[in-house]
Symmetry: C2
Subunit: 241 residues, 2 copies
Amino acid sequence: MDSSPVSEHPDEQVVPIGFDDVPGPAVRRLSLYLRQLENCLAGGQTTISSRDLGAALGVTDAQVRKDLAYFGQFGHRGVGYKIDRLITRIRKILATDRIWDVALVGAGHLGTALMAYRGFAPKGFRIAAVFDVDPAKIGQPIPSLSGRVVQPMAELADTIRRLDIKIGIIAVPADAAQAAADQLTEAGILGILNFAPVALVPKGKVLINSVDLAVQLEQLSYRVCPEPLSERIAAADVAGV
Amino acid sequence: MDSSPVSEHPDEQVVPIGFDDVPGPAVRRLSLYLRQLENCLAGGQTTISSRDLGAALGVTDAQVRKDLAYFGQFGHRGVGYKIDRLITRIRKILATDRIWDVALVGAGHLGTALMAYRGFAPKGFRIAAVFDVDPAKIGQPIPSLSGRVVQPMAELADTIRRLDIKIGIIAVPADAAQAAADQLTEAGILGILNFAPVALVPKGKVLINSVDLAVQLEQLSYRVCPEPLSERIAAADVAGV
DNA sequence: AGGTGTGAAGGATTTCACAGCC
DNA sequence: GGCTGTGAAATCCTTCACACCT
């Protein structure tokens, strides 16, 4: 299982290293740091400390420093981080220093909202192709990309290969999601953002990231519910359920 | 720090207890277990083992058992879990064994998609009021709830108090999100699901759960990018950035 | 055999605390 | 004085492994 025959040199500057085993939580926060930094820059700030950056996001200063340190040295002691440089470097790390074409499957309400979403472009994501099964949807124009229209599923593989698209979004009903994922994977997609409320099983080498809108509300109701948890458990125990 | 003067009885059924310090990850998975169980039930299954439930979600069997055990005893040794009972009990725990009225702020593309989303109702969430600043949007009907229409922001507090709404959704542009959150909080909302791409700071006792669509894609691009991470870091170091 | 519930072990992540630099 | 980068400690979470049940 240990497939890394790395040089046995006991010492030396193989550089910070360990890249590739950055904690998942750190990577997720990296996106939030980037977003916050972009806001600060827009606000005219040029420099920020780990404390201020963390405070804006509800994270400790030590956490911020540790997270950034996984990726190299970014700060200046006694000063903080230079916002514009840090942004550039985080974008490189997240690989959003380029344009990613994205394929969207499903042109229903959610799909339409995603097509119109203004937040993707400034982050480097462009919905470059849209597919649907519904003949009524096919042929409708894609607002973000003049000239292109919603295509039938039959054209999915060809289009994705031709445009060399690597990321897909699934916005179809639950019962069509696995098939959509399989078709995307088969067409060479490497990562999928899934909005359908089902657990998808990856067929082949693809990375699936799911966002379930109802689950997000459920998590809120769990925490916000006025009855204490102990009662909710007790109630279930009794209640002859 | 040990503030639990629990009976010192060495033995005996004080019942699991410790409720209230359930690990966050366990609660998040609980939602996924519930969803999967609902699917299994719909498929005609009546019983499931921790192994099968976990496998469907990419989680170990031990993890499933441990997670469920935080909330009590649910299974039958040698058999597994009775699906229908487990569903009922998890719903109680997540507090979705009731209807939660939800206030939506923002009737743009995303807001409209959320109003039309079919996934909320079966989970117990009902969008009961919608607000927007745009006069063109105000007065438009809410599809999910006949008779009700999009209201102006000025009516937000009154309506939320009158309908006793405790959960809100923010689907407005980034620069309007904090104000929306403040108004919701002021009106007595306890939990907010925020889709605007900004870090909101809670004013008062409110719980904010944010979902940033672009961030989700960013996480994919990080992991899917063909250039190895080490190069992305090195490139940034060099490049005179 | 098959399967849960759970203490104990192991890993992973976060926080502490401080050396070192501006 | 302010602030980063980082080992070490503390905490949190997951996995192991097994008693116990059916």
